[in-house]
Symmetry: C2
Subunit: 236 residues, 2 copies
Amino acid sequence: MKSAVKAQQAEDSAETGAQQIRDAIREAIVERRLSPGTKLSESDVGNLFNVSRTLARAALQALSYEGLVSVEKNRGAFVAYPSPDEARQIFAARRLVEPGILREAAARITPGDISQLRQLLLEEGRLMSERGQTARRAEIKASGDFHLMLAEISGNAIMQRFMEELVARSSLVIALYGQSTASSCGHSEHGDIIAAIENDDLDRACQLMLHHIAHIEADLDLRERKSLGLKEAFEL
Amino acid sequence: MKSAVKAQQAEDSAETGAQQIRDAIREAIVERRLSPGTKLSESDVGNLFNVSRTLARAALQALSYEGLVSVEKNRGAFVAYPSPDEARQIFAARRLVEPGILREAAARITPGDISQLRQLLLEEGRLMSERGQTARRAEIKASGDFHLMLAEISGNAIMQRFMEELVARSSLVIALYGQSTASSCGHSEHGDIIAAIENDDLDRACQLMLHHIAHIEADLDLRERKSLGLKEAFEL
DNA sequence: ACGCAAAAAATCGTATACAATTAGCCGTCG
DNA sequence: CGACGGCTAATTGTATACGATTTTTTGCGT
């Protein structure tokens, strides 16, 4: 799975400082070590990675393009705090594209791909039973990787990159609005989808995928709670 | 249409130099005043807009995230030169998402939206009959705006941004591989799609959209012609 | 005249420095 | 006692400077 995209700039591909920082921060956000709303000042980021503000700034700008941090002019960068409406749009986008990706992936899937998917599933299950923060974080990533791997199999680098953005932002949304202590993704549903693909039952696989996404979304509490109303917070 | 997205950083929204440059270059690329492969050195861009290399660099980096320019480490930035395979992926992505966007848009479309779409169509037709470079460029933009407006009507800012990227990159592809001198888009097909939406015939609208995209793609010559081989160029 | 190697030029990568804007603080005034 | 105003500190926006890498040129030898 780490063979990820890296589509453009094929040849030299030596990540240029800023990209390393960007990736490190992104990973921290996706694994929820950084909470939504956390301030990411350019100086702090620079000091943390022992680079100049120039590179820190570049990394933050890059993350802002992916929707993972929001930079406010003359105020600074913050880990994105998606509104309930944004959250709905993210999942609407996933419902819109994932069935299509699934179809494309099913059309070109190889036995090797399937065994890789199964292995991912196994790993996911193993992490799920473990205790501890680090296992939990790895599990969060693994459950997203299932969706990303389908995108990779589809062979469309553009859709793959888009899915990476959607999965990452989903992680933020779940961190903010998720209710169940249970992990992010219904684990068994992933297995069902693979099974449907193997049976060449594409329609069923797509339907399962839609249910799966709906299931994740159903676990969210997307009520507008704009800093607790500031009035309602004390009147009750 | 210019009410565009601008989702993040809602409040002050005063574009910060680099963004202005980015938009200017993007417009130049989409309108095909800049050809694929053109070198965009940071110094040149900076001088052209009377800003420092810092801002020029930021703008180019931003464009690289959108896939409109490719930056090669220690070599420079160039207007993207999508490979035939990339071109296919771009159109595959459009086939994958545009029907879905169309369905979402149809669900929330208002009479006002329809009249705006019609007006866009009229403008497009007017420009099509005119002669001259500037009219041609405006037409290119207008034909893309039809698709973008549907995305805007769909109410999903994320899908809208993605469509903006896809339309812009499509323009590059057409510039590179387009054959017919005729414009980029079958104009009448846009009208047919609107008509189908008005008749609440969603399935037909989606089918028309798919045909429309296929039609654009059919006008491309996507054979691998890697700088004409340097040998084959003279042996025939 | 051709090819190769070393130097020169140009360009990018990163750091530092300065200017502009914002946020917090404190003192004064009503 | 609360509110307003200006000042200071912190943070971002932009420019300039320096080092590294690549490309081109140039000059020498064969």
